[in-house]
Symmetry: C2
Amino acid sequence: MTLARRSKEKAWPETVKATLDGLLRVLENPTRRRILERLARESHYPLQLSKELGVSQQAVVKHLRALEESGLVSSTEEKSDLGGPNRRAYRATERFSLQIDMGPRLFHAEMRPMAHAPSNVREYGWAEDMLRRARAEDDPRRRVRLLGETIRKLNREIDAVEERRLNLLRLKDAAMGEAQGSVGDVLASYQERQVLYFFLEQGAPSLDRIAEALDLREKVVADLLRRIEREFPLIGEA
Amino acid sequence: MTLARRSKEKAWPETVKATLDGLLRVLENPTRRRILERLARESHYPLQLSKELGVSQQAVVKHLRALEESGLVSSTEEKSDLGGPNRRAYRATERFSLQIDMGPRLFHAEMRPMAHAPSNVREYGWAEDMLRRARAEDDPRRRVRLLGETIRKLNREIDAVEERRLNLLRLKDAAMGEAQGSVGDVLASYQERQVLYFFLEQGAPSLDRIAEALDLREKVVADLLRRIEREFPLIGEA
């Protein structure tokens, strides 16, 4: 994770680093991902998931426990209609986007929480309008049709935005590659190069953030910076 | 994974489903992610990584083997300058973006390969221009400074695009939530609802793709579609 991203994470709960780790550990399992896909559509009972996915109920219960402990799903106990024992219904609850970007010259892993309300309503006013129209529609059939149109239009927009993001990542990868070659031409010391890479991404990161990211004492970093300044007098203006 | 995404994956190698699974398995380990972060900056020897990360060389070698087997890094044997045994230098090689999006009403996991050349040069002409100017610069110090500016500008753009993507996902989550409520009002059958959710995302997915995604026979899906049509006569026009 680059320093730029770490600084952003500081605004999140203290556990966020553990959360990225925890999320990847939970989502690494394909059956758990299939369960989440179902739970995002409607709530399910363990027996139902077991039948639908062709996985033993014992395994499903184990996966649901891991998902609930990680905060990705929650459950409520429901009385059975048939007078049988109570059943536990599971539902997806978390909102986040997890991204891992990798080019030969860049690597970045991040978990971004997804807030409840859109923060930029103006840009997607058309979607808000379509949602409003759908909500005002009494006939559930017409309402579902309108919502389907909205969802498909949003899917196309999401695809376009992702394509833009990939283009930008490709360009960043190219720029990082060029920069790494040039840095290597001038700085012979490994640690000096590592510090300079932070400047390339951040402009002027603070001493303690470099020290933390590279696991070095601040005094060592200050010393490295003085030596880099001698070779790269322009860096300070970044 | 929704059907919409699966159809896209069809254009990729047959192993892509295994690749998403494989990638998550490999990237779940935090030490492996720290190694990849270093290897994206420059090539490293195992001993060097072991010192830098404070992890035993044995563990580093094990992680590097897993990374190499998954195709994320490659290695070359280099003669030691000091007449010692040959050393193996490791480098990051893969290009991809892996995303897992989750709202209470949506779940989507996808691996997108990152092509070498930007596919939309016009939109990011400014970045191409900055890269060209940097390449033409003889002084490595000025070159690195220009590249740093380019990288930081690209970082700001990537942030803005990600914010847009999150806004769209929030809106999609809201639309999915509305639709799920309305579908539940009309369709009492679980399988009918599952099929209808595909229509909401896709418009008109083919029989065999619904059958594959829901692990049902095509005859069963055709039957479900006839029953849904009766309740949702508008769906066919989507």
